[in-house]
Symmetry: C2
Subunit: 255 residues, 2 copies
């Protein structure tokens, strides 16, 4: 049975302001919540059907509330709520630069669409990339739409929000890893020598990589098109940001 | 100035039934409409701002109607209409098997999400794949959401809807090209020998490739994950259908 205060609290977490205030986010569905229950993420409350609570063992430290589907509908962000909603603590991730030294790290410059951000987190997970560094303008990773689109990968990837230009300035003087960025004039990823560690910048969905970050790119790369056609408007064709990221990560890992 | 009949006609095309009845679909925005005006697609009507009509030269055989933004809003499928909406003829594509002989062709088995279908059409275009064969259960490619997600690639890719099992039965006896399908037990795409022609089956977003198509797969492939984590639920992690398709197409083309 859902109390008035619980209803209000969970619904408030749909807004970034309240997620920050309560340092909490929501996740829904049996798959994602099961992942979270077995992850480094601290689950604080579980609102679930009787069936879910009978089936899944939940640690006693977690407040679990049995709810009817009609109650779940009142707190859900989904069009069809799926058995369970969890309230979790937003993990604090210190950005430890030494940890990045021998690793590939994704850097997201101004990714606006929550679905794209979720897919990018899922891609990082698939390709064994532990950390993602986001510009402050990038969508909030704990937005319910992003959490759902990660399909559980949000539990495994460390996310940092920072000023990217500042970050790269320090990278240049401290750890000095290569910085890869996809640009029209870049060298084909299919032929280029790629290192086992470094940063891969993924630019905004329509504007690409911000001008003020260009000076920090040490390795310009590009994804060749095999299209038989030229765009009528003479504009360059482009790939969706998540597709481009997947193709680049695949090239780094397949070697 | 938009007439009542024009308003009714254009809005009817949001439904598949009326798209079929009138053999017409809509496309919106300066980029996509410009692509269509220079493509094999027959544009029948253009509803556009005075500014667009002054800027872009439109053939006299095309009915062009100057509309205000408030009128465009009444026929648009977008949240923010963008200068122009075109009504185009759905192209008739005969499935000529001889044409497929020395080519790669994408086969979409039950792709339900219009955004995914649009992205898949865009990926085919990027990788120089001319034809896509869709199961009858796949979303309608001329749905406005699909058209917009293709970013203009809808003008260049030939789309066929057919019964896939029947199609592969005939393929076995006629042209006999290899049929690639991504399956858990498949051989890694990074190591496998890939041919320059054949079919690549992309399965449904949540269920994968349909059971009744499995007997037609001659080459089982898989995309290796480099994740450091195992899914808590013991479930196999998966990639979004469009991401998987892009990674597979890239491997075929990079060789």
């Amino acid at each position: 049975m859902l109390s008035k205060n619980q209803l209000k609290f969970v619904n408030s977490l749909k807004q970034k302001k309240f997620r920050e205030e309560h340092n909490s986010f929501t996740a829904e569905g049996t798959k994602i919540v099961s992942e979270l229950l077995h992850s480094r993420i601290k689950v604080k409350q579980v609102y679930a059907s009787a069936d879910f609570l009978n089936r899944i063992s939940i640690d006693k430290s977690i407040e679990s509330v049995e709810v009817k589907i009609s109650e779940l509908e009142r707190i859900s962000s989904l069009t069809s709520p799926n058995e369970v909603l969890a309230v979790c603590e937003i993990p604090s991730c210190e950005l430890n630069k030494n940890e990045l030294n021998d690793k590939l790290t994704l850097v997201l410059d101004n990714i606006k669409d929550p679905g794209n951000l979720g897919t990018l987190i899922r891609i990082a997970d698939w390709f064994g990339i532990d950390s993602i560094i986001c510009s402050h303008e990038t969508a909030d990773a704990f937005n319910p739409k992003v959490v759902q689109a990660t399909m559980g990968s949000i539990a495994r990837i460390k996310l940092h929000y920072t000023d990217l230009a500042d970050f790269f300035k320090k990278n240049n003087s401290d750890i000095s890893l290569p910085v890869y960025g996809a640009l029209l004039e870049g060298e084909s990823i299919y032929g280029k020598k790629l290192t086992a560690s470094g940063f891969i910048i993924i630019g905004n969905e329509s504007k690409g990589i911000s001008n003020h970050l260009l000076p920090y790119i040490s390795d310009k790369i590009s994804i060749p098109s095999f299209s038989h056609f030229k765009s009528a408007a003479g504009e360059a064709e482009s790939l969706n940001a998540a597709i481009a990221a997947a193709l680049i990560c695949s090239e780094f890992r397949r070697r």
